[in-house]
């Protein structure tokens, strides 16, 4: 995409701002097996972004930092990635999923309560999935019963990203089991300090504890925390799930493109001497670079369509599937090139994208794009059935 003057002005502005505000040592401070450092660095960086007006470009313009066009939002993600800034992992659900759900579907009181709190660092998690309801999310069984002005909620949520650090939770519950499974779902806001909540972090394949299980035993949630209508939570959940509007992929792809040098580094054993490159490695590098450029180009086109209100059915699935496969192959190539060093060095940097320097870590971590938020298989179902109009497999 070629920038107009205003967009290139924004780029320059962010570069200058980063030069003055990005802590040079953030990797050391939030890296390794160091949860306290991660939390502190994320909070510090988030506060700076909010002050700079770069945390909430997607919010409406009456909010600080809000009212930016999608084109400007893309520029911001690109520049933050190019400047080597940390990802906003701890606040991502707050800024996107929670805020956009409240802005589109919440009440004035809910917005007044939570949006300013989010700007001050309120951490949110998403409590949708359950042990028995993953790909088949609508099969969720966590029960909520209305008693007077409260819902009494019991059940279990799982895989909530950063749930063990969250202050608030976007919660999907079942309020009616009589009809179609999508029909009896209700969307609630849950204070994570409520009585009856037990949060247990789950260790991931990387050794990191980044998501959590949430056990709910007769948790009381005030009725004013209902978002949308009772039994109409499924619609609200769709808003939550599409709240980041492809921006995550813009950011991740940009970060991947900017990490391509790490593959070259691994391929040349740190010498940078590309004249000595093994032929088959050289060819793999070319293929990966082509796919990254293609991913960027496809994102640019589809984001432009989105801005023009011309989004087609299945676009998001095509993007996600292309990216998730690329993330696997990109990191697998790093693994092949880094060889033993990737197998032994387990140092990692949380929230660094493809910059941990350990390709095994990045490779393992890349599964998250292939599983979470609608797995590759579910995206393939969408592309084949909704885009290509093939008949549906019979589902229960």
């Amino acid at each position: 995409m070629t920038d107009n003057d205003q967009l290139s002005g924004l780029r320059t502005e962010i570069r200058d701002w980063l030069a003055h505000n990005l802590p040079a040592d953030w990797r050391d401070r939030q890296g390794g097996d160091n949860t306290a450092g991660f939390l502190a660095m994320q909070r510090e960086w988030f506060t700076k972004l909010v002050e700079g007006g770069y945390a909430t470009p997607h919010w409406p313009k009456e909010w600080p930092g809000g009212g930016r066009s999608l084109a400007e939002q893309i520029v911001m993600f690109e520049e933050l990635a190019r400047g080597g800034a940390p990802r906003m992992s701890l606040f991502f659900v707050s800024l996107y999923h929670a805020a956009m759900t409240l802005i589109e579907c919440g009440t004035d009181a809910q917005r007044a309560r939570h949006l300013p709190a989010i700007l001050k660092g309120e951490v949110w998690c998403q409590g949708f999935s359950e042990p028995g309801a993953g790909s088949d999310l609508a099969a969720l069984r966590t029960r909520a019963e209305r008693r007077g002005d409260r819902y009494i909620v019991s059940g279990q949520k799982i895989w909530s990203t950063l749930g063990h650090f969250a202050d608030q939770c976007l919660l999907l519950v079942r309020t009616d089991s009589s009809g179609a499974k999508q029909a009896g779902i209700t969307f609630l806001l849950m204070d994570m300090k409520s009585k009856g909540i037990d949060v247990r972090p789950i260790r991931q394949i990387t050794g990191d504890e980044e998501f959590a299980e949430i056990f709910l035993d007769e948790v009381e949630i005030p009725v004013e925390n209902l978002v949308g209508q009772e039994n109409e939570g499924w619609k609200v959940a769709q808003v939550t799930l599409s709240s980041e509007r492809g921006l995550t992929l813009v950011e991740l792809t940009e970060r991947m493109a900017l990490s391509l040098w790490r593959l070259v580094d691994a391929a040349t054993q740190g010498t940078g001497d590309t004249g000595m490159l093994d032929r088959s490695v050289a060819r793999s590098l070319v293929d990966i670079s082509a796919r990254i450029e293609a991913m960027r180009a496809m994102l640019a086109t589809l984001m432009a369509n989105r801005m023009a209100g011309r989004e087609a059915v299945g676009d998001a699935s095509i993007l996600k599937l292309a990216y998730s496969r690329l993330s696997r192959d990109f990191t697998a190539l790093g693994l092949r090139l880094q060889s033993f060093a990737a197998m032994r060095d387990t140092r990692y940097v949380l929230g660094a994208g493809y910059e941990t320097g350990n390709w095994m870590f990045d490779f393992l971590n890349s599964y998250q794009y292939n599983i979470a938020g609608g797995s590759n298989e579910i995206q393939r179902n969408i592309v084949s059935e909704r885009v290509l109009q093939m008949p549906r497999e019979k589902l229960g």
Binding site: A139, G207, F340, R344, L364, L395
Partner: protein, 354 residues
């Protein structure tokens, strides 16, 4: 004469049986992952008592006079159980000692058996020697009493004691927490216990090591497939077992085909190697390439097919994945193997031309 030799042959399937029983009993495959004692020493002791280390040594040295075909099922079962021990370093060394042209080698075999020496094979990078070398990741190095040092050139493999001056071993924490690894460094090492002279020595060490990894991978891949299928049968989404989705069934079927194809080559290569039959050196490298590839592909897909639980530490999908990825590169990457055998492959093709 022939009849008596054949009578003395142990049936590989009997060995497999006893290996399965022993390993079911003694292997806690999550031990290393949960920081529990891995039981490797006790298992090694049991393996010694069962006579596994004696299997391919000659009777004169207190061995059982068997061939590689009885080791193959053991390696496979070790892989299937995700065992914490490295058997192949010692066995490849015994195999290599018999390939030398020196009588002193037999005394060494006897010493290995008597003293319970444990060997690890160290592959030097081009240009490295005992004067200066570092091998970043050697399987079994922390427990090895000796190293069999091989290079890529003409120099004969060397046997060096782990406590010889100039040898240092540092335990390595790898992603595969189920087995021990070490970084081995040589600096001006002069005490060589034995030089293994003979044309076949290096190829034998390699073939034995490649086939051990190939068998380990076949065992691991089969187990991984069977646990994946079990999970798919039990996991319900959309009101039915995910095993009933054709897209997933076909992937499992593809893995089955890849594993069986690799298994066939591994068995054939093992038999050829056992009798030093036609093509054993090339076949063993080819077998490892296919077996490790099938294992890695299976384990990579296992994580995906398990979904969220596949992304956890608690489920076992990653145990297979991490071991499969190490199996693929330890002692030589697939590209190293390809580069090593391409000449022979082409030559054989040209000779076999119609």
């Amino acid at each position: 004469m022939t009849a008596t030799i054949e009578d003395a042959r142990i049936d590989p399937e009997e060995i497999r049986d006893s290996a399965q029983r022993l390993l079911a009993d003694m292997v806690d495959r999550r031990a290393g992952w949960e920081a529990r004692p891995d039981g490797a020493a006790a298992l090694d002791q049991a393996m010694r008592e069962l006579g596994w280390y004696q299997l391919i040594a000659a009777e004169a040295e207190g061995g059982l006079g068997q061939r590689f075909d009885v080791l193959a099922p053991i390696y496979e079962e070790l892989g299937r159980s995700l065992a914490p021990v490295w058997l192949s370093g010692t066995m490849a060394t015994i195999d290599a000692l018999y390939a030398t042209v020196s009588a002193a080698a037999e005394q060494l075999v006897a010493a290995v058996l008597e003293n319970g020496w444990r060997m690890a094979v160290v592959t030097l990078a081009p240009g490295q020697s005992l004067a200066a070398a570092s091998a970043p990741m050697v399987g079994g190095a922390p427990d090895a009493t000796h190293f069999l040092v091989i290079g890529d050139g003409e120099a004969p493999p060397l046997l060096v004691a782990a406590d010889a001056p100039g040898v240092s071993v540092t335990e390595v924490t790898s992603w595969d927490l189920g087995r021990s690894y070490g970084a081995v460094e040589f600096s001006d090492v002069r005490n060589v216990l034995f030089r293994l002279e003979g044309d076949d020595v290096l190829p034998v060490v390699r073939a034995h090591s490649e086939l051990a990894l190939a068998c380990d991978s076949i065992g691991g891949a089969s187990q991984c497939l069977s646990e994946t299928v079990d999970y798919m049968l039990g996991r319900q989404q959309f009101g039915r077992p995910i095993a009933s989705f054709q897209a997933l069934k076909h992937r499992a079927a593809d893995h089955k085909v890849a594993i069986e194809l690799a298994r066939s080559l591994v068995s054939h290569a093992s038999r050829q190697f056992a009798v030093r039959g036609d093509g054993w050196a090339v076949l063993s490298a080819q077998a490892r390439i296919l077996a490790c590839e099938a294992y890695a592909a299976m384990a990579e897909d296992c994580v995906q097919l398990f979904g969220g639980v596949g992304f956890t530490w608690e489920y076992d999908a990653h145990l297979f994945l991490k071991r499969a990825l190490v199996n693929q590169i330890i002692g030589g990457s697939p590209d190293d193997l390809r580069d090593r055998i391409v000449g022979d492959v082409c030559q054989r093709a040209q000779t076999a031309r119609l």
